[in-house]
Structures are given as structure tokens and as C-alpha cells.
Amino acid sequence: MNGRNHGRSEMKHTAVSRLSGCSALVCVTLAMSPANAQDASLIDAAKKEGTVTIYTSTDAAQAQALLDAFTAKYGIKIAYNDVGTNGAYNQVISESAAGQVTADVVWTSAMDLQMTLVKDGYAVPFKSVEAGNIPSWANYQDTLYATTIEPIGMIYNTTALKEDRIPKTRADLIKFLQENQAELKGKVATFDPEKSGTGFLHHTNDARQTSNFWDLAKALGADGVKTYSSSGSMKETVVSGENVLAINIIGSYALDWVKETPNLGVAFGSDYTAAFSRLALISKGAPHPNAAKLFVDFTLSKEGQEALASGGLPSVREDVTSGLNIKTLNEKVGGGLKPIAVDEGLLEYMDPAKRVQFFNDWKAAIAG
């Protein structure tokens, strides 16, 4: 029930803008090194610990391949706690206060909450042997690692909207919303930023990243947009045709949904597709610190990333062949992939005054 917040970030500091001129993706490719050898003593110590406890917001179904591969390789059991973004945050701070730290690895999509945990001292630094194989924006001070790259896009009902009508760019989208008001009235959905941390991240990111976000919000308002607190409700309403279009949804889920749902389509902006990441950290006082390190290493390794990508969570590595990786994903969304950087900019909207200001602006814009 707790919204899985996906954090929010200040876009000024995205990897893309810092690496202006050279594509972030290309740079990463250049920085790639051959497979790193894992330290044998770490493996031994981890095996002695025998188990690793993970607090996460990722459905077991999507992570199962990763978990199975890890256990198969090292014989270390995984206690996998899918407790949601808020659940993970709540349990980590509560357990720490009680001196009962249980989580070894905290791995959630709430980028802002993860960064808050790091800033508040709930994480310990750990230099992953794989650090060189992921983009630099995906590593925050060797403490917080981006493990996936998940595009933000839109889903539509293929019975109601044929594929050729789906707008390709932000500008097209705004125009489409404005020009088809009769058809779309009350049938467009998006996240409610007040009730969903994910939605908050997506919307605020757009507001920073694009110049026409508020035009989009007004166009949504004019169409009588309906706002939801969860991906599930939005997907279900688009599947059923109750809504025909949902905007700023989690594209990695959507790419999976369309495989099993015949009347659902997914689309990404070719000029601009933001992407968030699931971030992993090792908690301070982790009962199984070595197993935790080994797990994070494994998650970032080619093998681990292959497993994640096969479960529908695109890889931050370019050398991954199953599913999507950061490069193929960028191609898939039309070349406009803009990852949200893992940096302190994520904390900007933790300031209540800024939050409230955004909520007020948002509500005013979508009031129609």
C-alpha cells in the first residue's frame, strides 16, 4: 500500500548534462573494463555468513532470476523482503533505532528515500569491483549504486487508439491532448504526485528537465485527467478501456505488460524519455556485511544484470545481451533516454516548502 516512491531528482545534475557533447552511453562503453575477478576471501566470508537479507520494492517475480542465480552460484540463501519503498525506509530507520538492524542490502526504486538513508548515515561505503562497468552517474560515492535503468513512458489501449495515432514527442503529445479533447475527456490517467512517490519523481523530474511540462499538465487538466496512486490501478483501467492513455508510467513494467496483455500498447517519447533506477545500498551494521557486498557485486556483474534484464528490468551495463540494456533501451525509446542521476539533487524536494509549492502548481494546472 505504500506507494513505491521512485524518488525525484534535480535534473541540472543529470549525467547527460554533465557529459554534454558526448553521449553518456558512448562514454560508458569506453570506460568498460573486462570482467572483474571477485576477491576469494570475500566469497569465503560471505559463504560463512550463509544468508543475505534484502529489503526491496521490486516484486519477487521480477527479481527471481537474479536471486536464483546468486544462490546457485554461491550457495548463499536470500531472505527477500518485498516491503515496498516506504516499508523498506520505515523498517531500516526503525530497526536501526532499535539496534536490530536486519537488512543487509536495501534495494528500492525510491531514489530520494535511498539517498536520504545514505545522507542520514544508514549506509556504509563499499567499492564494488563492478563499479568500473557502470556509468559514473550510477554510482554515488561508492555507497549508492543504480542497478537498473527503467524508462518512463505511456501506455494506451490499442482498441481505442491505433498505434499510428500515438504521439512521438512531448510537443506532439501536448498537441494530441489538446486536439482530441472530446475523445479523451476523462480517459487520460497519470500518477497523483501527492499519493505516489513514483509519480512525484516522474512529474518533478519532467518539470525540471523539460520546458513544456506545465503545458502538458494544463493539457491533461483540459482533458479531465484522472490521477492514481498506483501503477496497478492505471494499468487495469487502460487495459479495460476505462482510460485510453496513461502518462508517466513505469515503462519497464509496461514493456512486460504488453507481452501478456493483447490490448495494451506502450510508447516512449523519441525526443525525451526520462529513466529512473533501482538503487542498492549496504546498510550500516548489516548482520551479513560480506554477503551484502557479494550480492551488490553480483547484481552489478554481467551475470546478475543478465538475470535482471531477463526479468524485465533493463541493465545499466552495455554488455548485457538478454532483455534490454542501457544501449538497446536507448534505441528502443528513440534515442532520447535521459537517466536520472544518483546524486544529492535527489534531495531537493525533501524540503517541505518546495514540495507544497509543487503540489499547488500541479493542482492548479490540472484543475482544467
Binding site: M1, N2, G3, N5, S57, T58, D59, A60, A61, Q64, A79, Y80, N81, D82, V83, G84, N86, G87, N90, Q91, I93, S94, E95, A97, A98, Q100, T102, L113, N157, T159, A160, A189, D192, E194, K195, S196, G197, K226, T227, Y228, S229, S230, S231, G232, S233, M234, K235, E236, T237, V239, S240, G241, E242, W257, E260, T261, P262, L264, M350, R355
Partner: protein, 586 residues
């Protein structure tokens, strides 16, 4: 509540407050005061620890365990100045009273038809009318979306027929209608037991002085069951204030918010969860609930005046409906059952076996078992099912044992501890399951001797026992109170201690009732969803909370499959309950 609340519960409610307490009577020797006080004391601790934590949290500026936390009224100030809070409060009030306006007349009518008339299929109806009560409101809400949502299969059929869908379940009115219809059993149980317990000679007396059937119903039956109607109404207002699943699913699209979903929003509104604000709203719910509970107690006390003077209750002559009366009555009940049972369960069933639905989709073409197959591939979901069954079946049995001990502690208890018991039982009822679960999470985390139990099902079990307390205890008390005092007194005069009397006389006599109570509590535990959200972890997943958690990532296929499994388990539980002779009716 729940459950399965009911005649037994009603009796027990009455029993608790009706015991005449003579001023300063010394407790008779051998009344097991030690056992009573210890049992009630442990219960008080179990209930008051989490509740106290919430009260404490509401007066802090940060999470109570945070070094930054200081005593402060800021949280109250924020809530008091938040216009959204008042909007949610207003909506909740409207929702709760609207629900009562739907549920009470219909529940009263149903109770009248089933207990007082010769309506056909009576035995079947007695069971069927209870079914909506056993489905968790979140499952109900999903089911309704698929059947009568804007693109539900029934909505589309109606639209094909008349051109428009004449209803909107995402409106406040739609939510009220759905909640009202699904709470009819709660009214039915109280009113029907009152009607059954109403001595028939009171009605016969009215007929012999010249009143016809309808006159009797109006002049004698109605006033006599009025306390139970008012009681049921106040209970439903209470339940209305706590409802979470229906507003969560149906109120979301149009931004209709009630206090429980307002609390839910507070977990994300400020980025990090604001426990102090959540605690304040929980306090508001308690403050709203307490006067209602107080009123209920008053009502039951006054009801003593209405207690029949002697009289035979056995010979109830039923009113003849006649052919057209039968048709009308059965149509009303049939329509209600269609709306409150067939539509949601049908919706869930359909959804569980298709991978797409709605506008322009031929459901037959989309039939698939993949939803179930996919679910079985995920260990945590499979574990969730096993845990849910374990918690319901074994936990339910243990809970009956615990409720029995508490029930005995309060059985014919005239001491101060009984008043304590009475209030303690009602406290958890006032709090949303989500908040109770969170508080228990903290209790198990911060109380050193309890910490080893936190990652086990025991922590969930304890929370479930407390959440199910008011329902389960009333169930047991209702059973206990049926043992006539003379049977116990004769055992005592023969030389048995109070313990022996309970063991040799009371428990053997109530044993059939215990089996039934077990099955009903099993159902209550099966459908629970909010309590486990914060408590469950790896290895302790439960179906209901998994559904809530899956909703955020959009695994609707899995949710539907889980919901159907939970309905099937509930049906099995209900069948078992009936098999064991649960006194769903007395």
C-alpha cells in the same frame, strides 16, 4: 466486528453491560480473581502497548525513535490546519452515514423477512445473506471494478442495451452503495438475533387484542428491536469510519479521500513517512469512535428495560407472505445478493481467468490459466498462500483458545476488571488495521524479549488476535453466556472449584460453539489485509497484504488470482463453519 458479529455477539454485548453491579459487593471467595486479573492484565498490556505507542507518537515532532523527536503539538496543528483533512473528514462522515442509510433499512428488512415470515429457501438464505461479510473489502472493490466499473462486463452490456452506463462506482454515491450493500449482513445479524430472541407472546398478545400482522410489526416488533437497529447503525458508522479497501480502490481515480486513505497519503506526501501525522489522524478516529462506543453501551444498558419479562421464545409463528409476497420478498433478496455477491465474486472470477478485459475485448478469447501458473512460479506468493492458511487454521484455533481464556476471565465477572475488559476490547476496533500493524511492528522491534519473534508468523498472529479481538471475544462470550447459571451453580455447590466448573461443565457444554467460532475466526483471519502490510517480511507473507503490495507495481493478473484463491479459501472456511455447526444464528 465481523464476523461474523451476530447473535452471539449481541448477546455478549448485552451481557457485558447488563451484569448488575451492586455497589461495593465483596467478590465471593473462590471466584478466581487471580486468573481473571492476570488474563485481563495480559490482554490490556497487549492492546495498550501499541495503542499507547500511537498516542505517544501523536505528541512528537518526529518518529518516536528518532533522536530529533521532541514533545510537540505540531502534528495536531498541521492536521487541524489542513483543509484536505476536513474534506476527508466530511467525506468520511458522509460515507459512513450514507452506508448506514443503505445497510440498516435493508438489513432490518432482511432480518424481518427471514426470521418472521414463511419466506421460502429460508435455510439457504440464512447462509447466503452472510457471504458479503466474509469478503475483504479490497477484493470486493476489485471485483466490482471488473463487473460494474466504467468498462465492466455488466456496464458494457447495459450500455449496449440503453446507450449509457447509468451508474458510476467511482463516485461517492457509488462507494456508499457498494459499502452499504456489503455491510447489510452486519445489520442483519444483530437485528435478526434480536428478532429471534423476542418472545413471540409479545406479538401474539398484540394480535389477540386486535392488531393485524403489519400493525404488530410496527407497534411491537419494531420498537422491541429498535435498540438492536440503533446498535447496528452505530456499529456500521464505526465500520464506515474505518473502511479502507473500498475508498482505496474506488475513490482513487476521482480523488475521493476518506480518513483512512488520508492516512495512507501521509506516508508519501512528505517524501518520508510522517508517523506523527498518521498518529494524529488515528487519534481522531479513536476520538470519533469512543462516543459511538459509549452510546452503544448506553443503548445496551437501556435495553435491559426492554428485556422480555419471562415469556416463551420458542414458538414463533411466522407471517404468511402469500404468493405475491413471496415473489416480491425473494426478488428483493435475490437482487441484493446479485449485487453484493454475484457481481464482485463474478468480477474477480472473470478477471482471474483472463489477461485482458473491458472495451472491445471478447472475454472468451482471452481465457487463460496463466495468471495462476505465473503465480505458482513465485516462491513468496506460494509461501503467502501457505502462511495465510496456516495463520487462519492454526492461528484461528489458537485465537479461539485465547479468546476462551479471556472470555472465562470475564465470564460472570462482577469486578472492576470487567469494565476494563469492556473498553480494551473496543479500542483496537477504533484503529485502522494499517496503523495497528505498524504499531505492532514497533512493539516487536523495540521490546527486547519480543524481537526474536518479529520475523516469524507469531508477530502477525498477535496483531491478528488483537485486530480480531472485538469480534472473536464477543463470539466466545456469546457462547459462554448461553450456559445457564444454574448448571454452573450446581457444580459449585457439589464441590467443584470455579476452575473445575469451567473445565468440567462450561467448556464441555460450549465445545460445539468453539468449533464454530474457530471456523468463523478462520474466515476473519483469511480476509485480513491491512494489518500485515508493515508486519510481513520474507517468509511471513500473507495473501491479503500481498495484494495491497502488488497493487503498486501493477501485477493485476496476480492480484486477481490471489483474490480468487482467497475467496475459495473463505468459502471452504464457511462450509467448514456450517459443518461444525457454527452458531451463525442462534
Amino acid at each position: 466486528m465481523a464476523t461474523s458479529h451476530h447473535s452471539a455477539a449481541m448477546l455478549a454485548d448485552a451481557a457485558i453491560v447488563d451484569l448488575p453491579v451492586p455497589p461495593h459487593t465483596a467478590r465471593p471467595a473462590g471466584d478466581a480473581p487471580l486468573f481473571r486479573n492476570i488474563a485481563i492484565g495480559i490482554l490490556a498490556l497487549t492492546v495498550l502497548a501499541p495503542v499507547g505507542l500511537i498516542v505517544f507518537q501523536s505528541f512528537l515532532s518526529a518518529p518516536f525513535f528518532s533522536p530529533r523527536a521532541v514533545l510537540s503539538l505540531d502534528a495536531y496543528a498541521y492536521i487541524i490546519n489542513d483543509p484536505t483533512f476536513y474534506k476527508a473528514l466530511g467525506t468520511t462522515t458522509l460515507f459512513a452515514f450514507g452506508m448506514v442509510a443503505v445497510a440498516v433499512p435493508l438489513g432490518g428488512l432482511l432480518a424481518f423477512l427471514i426470521t418472521r415470515t414463511d419466506i421460502r429457501f429460508k435455510r439457504l438464505l440464512e447462509v447466503l445473506v452472510l457471504v458479503p461479510m466474509f469478503i475483504s473489502s479490497i477484493v470486493l472493490a476489485f471485483g466490482y471494478t471488473v463487473s460494474v466499473g466504467p468498462t465492466g462486463f455488466l456496464s458494457l452490456a447495459v450500455r449496449d442495451l440503453i446507450g449509457v452506463v447509468p451508474w458510476n462506482i467511482y463516485s461517492l454515491a457509488g462507494m456508499i452503495a457498494i459499502a452499504g450493500l456489503s455491510h447489510v449482513p452486519h445489520v442483519y445479524l444483530y437485528v435478526s438475533s434480536a428478532m429471534r430472541n423476542l418472545p413471540s407472546d409479545l406479538e401474539e398478545a398484540a394480535r389477540t387484542v386486535g392488531a393485524n400482522i403489519w400493525r404488530v410489526s410496527l407497534d411491537v416488533t419494531l420498537p422491541m428491536v429498535l435498540p438492536s437497529l440503533v446498535f447496528a447503525a452505530s456499529l456500521n458508522v464505526l465500520l464506515g469510519f474505518e473502511t479502507f479497501g473500498i475508498p482505496l480502490v474506488l475513490g482513487d481515480p476521482n480523488g475521493i479521500m476518506v480518513l483512512t486513505t488520508y492516512i495512507y497519503k501521509l506516508t508519501t506526501l512528505f517524501g518520508t513517512p510522517t508517523y506523527q501525522l498518521m498518529a494524529v489522524v488515528a487519534m481522531v478516529l479513536v476520538l470519533i469512535t469512543l462516543p459511538l462506543v459509549w452510546m452503544q453501551r448506553r443503548l445496551l444498558r437501556n435495553a435491559r428495560r426492554y428485556a422480555a419479562l419471562g415469556g416463551k421464545g420458542s414458538r414463533v409463528s411466522s407471517l404468511k407472505l402469500g404468493r405475491s409476497g413471496q415473489v416480491i420478498a425473494l426478488s428483493i433478496i435475490g437482487l441484493w445478493l446479485f449485487v453484493s455477491v454475484v457481481l464482485p465474486i463474478g468480477g474477480i472470477t472473470v478477471r482471474a481467468f483472463v489477461d485482458a478485459w473491458g472495451e472491445g475485448v471478447n472475454l472468451v478469447e482471452r481465457l487463460t490459466f496463466s495468471n495462476f501458473y505465473g503465480m505458482l512460479q513465485v516462491p513468496s506468493l506460494v509461501r503467502g498462500m501457505i502462511n495465510t492458511v496456516l495463520l487462519s487454521v492454526v492461528g484461528g484455533a489458537l485465537a479461539v483458545g485465547i479468546y476462551l481464556l479471556i472470555g472465562l476471565a470475564g465470564h460472570r465477572n462482577r469486578g472492576f476488571s470487567n469494565t476494563v475488559l469492556d473498553y480494551i476490547v473496543l479500542l483496537p476496533r477504533a484503529l485502522p488495521g494499517l496503523v495497528v500493524g505498524l504499531a505492532f511492528f514497533w512493539v516487536f522491534l523495540f521490546v527486547p524479549i519480543l524481537t526474536p519473534l518479529r520475523p516469524t508468523l507469531v508477530s502477525l498472529f498477535v496483531a491478528y488476535v488483537v485486530v480480531g479481538l472485538s469480534y472473536g471475544l464477543r463470539l466466545l462470550q456469546g457462547t459462554l453466556i448461553q450456559v445457564s447459571p444454574e448448571l454452573e451453580e450446581s457444580a459449585r455447590t457439589t464441590g467443584a472449584t470455579i476452575g473445575r466448573t469451567w473445565w468440567d461443565v462450561v467448556i464441555p457444554i460450549v465445545r460445539p460453539g468453539l468449533a464454530g467460532a474457530w471456523a468463523l475466526i478462520m474466515i476473519i483471519f483469511l480476509r485480513e489485509y491491512a494489518t500485515g502490510v508493515y508486519l510481513m517480511g520474507a517468509g511471513t507473507e500473507v495473501i491479503g497484504s500481498l495484494m495491497v503490495s502488488l497493487l503498486t507495481t501493477g501485477a493485476m493478473n496476480t492480484i486477481a488470482a490471489l483474490a480468487l484463491i482467497s475467496i475459495i479459501l473463505t468459502a471452504a472456511g464457511l462450509a467448514l463453519a456450517l459443518r461444525l455447526g457454527a452458531r451463525i444464528h442462534d
